[in-house]
Point group: C2
Chain length 182, copies 2
């Protein structure tokens, strides 16, 4: 056995999310993913039944994560909720990095499972900015604004109720960014 079994699966998922981010779903071939992960295309298709299965596995955890975040926020209020929301958002975006892009998928596209609208290159660049790889401070602020806007907009589209999450995140984000509340 070449690798510790579970490792290759993880490597494939890692390569896939990075390549999907760079070229989009339809724009990334199984061969590219396999090469990047250091295995053959056939080996990749041994671990995943088909290309869609890779995407499905990448999408799975994020929806639950957002719902959990929303539930936690519902039990807080005011200043504490705002700070908690921002902290949770930071945690969420760092933990899932590019996977957060899933939130941008149209719901019916997800259901009907055809090709995906591609927002991945954009998300990759946002992630770069957010992780501090770009030292440009104004760029980071703008990136944060965009990131928050994306998450809030998409949360609604994914069926997450708009009430608490959006209101608290808006206030909390503005404060974090050093902007006065409005």
């Amino acid at each position: 056995m070449a690798r510790s079994a579970t490792t290759l699966r993880a490597d494939i998922l890692d390569s896939a999310v990075r390549l999907f981010a760079a070229h989009g779903f339809r724009g990334t071939s199984l061969q590219e993913i396999a090469t990047d992960a250091g295995c053959s295309k056939a080996s990749l298709l041994y671990h995943f039944t088909n290309k869609d299965a890779i995407l499905t596995e990448l999408l799975a955890p994020v929806g639950a994560q957002v719902a959990e975040l929303e539930a936690r926020l519902a039990r807080l209020d005011g200043e504490a909720a705002a700070r908690a929301a921002v902290d949770a958002l930071v945690d969420l975006s760092l933990r899932f990095r590019l996977q957060v892009k899933i939130l941008l998928l149209d719901v019916d596209t997800l259901i009907n499972r055809p090709e995906l609208p591609d927002v991945d290159g954009f998300m990759a660049r946002l992630t770069d900015a957010l992780s501090g790889r770009s030292a440009d401070q104004p760029a980071r602020v703008w990136a944060w604004m965009a990131m928050l806007g994306i998450i809030l907009t998409s949360a609604g589209e994914c069926g997450v109720p708009e009430g608490t999450l959006r209101a608290e995140l808006t206030r909390g984000a503005l404060r974090t960014l050093g902007l006065p509340a409005c």
Copy 2:
């Protein structure tokens, strides 16, 4: 002759920008573009030497437009510049709609001309929000925030000097959005 010649070219470009927006560059086939434009793939390749040529033609006008906007802003100052910047930005985004996405391309990607990072689906949804198709007012505000962030960030990456454009647009945008300056 089936069509008035220049019309088919325009139709092809129109189909291409819409399909690139939906599926990305690599994710859109010449056949799909041709079918959408109502002609054969061979006819498409008569009007454009290859797939890259379509993209190149779509990219051409936007860079110049941004430069012109920057030059106009350089001759203004203070309040007038801020308002003019926002107006120009609105004009720019509406006139070029999805084509604005070009600004998001990495410069070296443009030069080396391989596959493109895909931001198009995201831009399409932003455009929807900005054009008022989504009646959700908070969503529109967030969309604007993201849009401004994108344009400002990408202008820098495309070689547009950061000075005037970013500073003025930031102030003007905040005012337009009803947020206090900071």
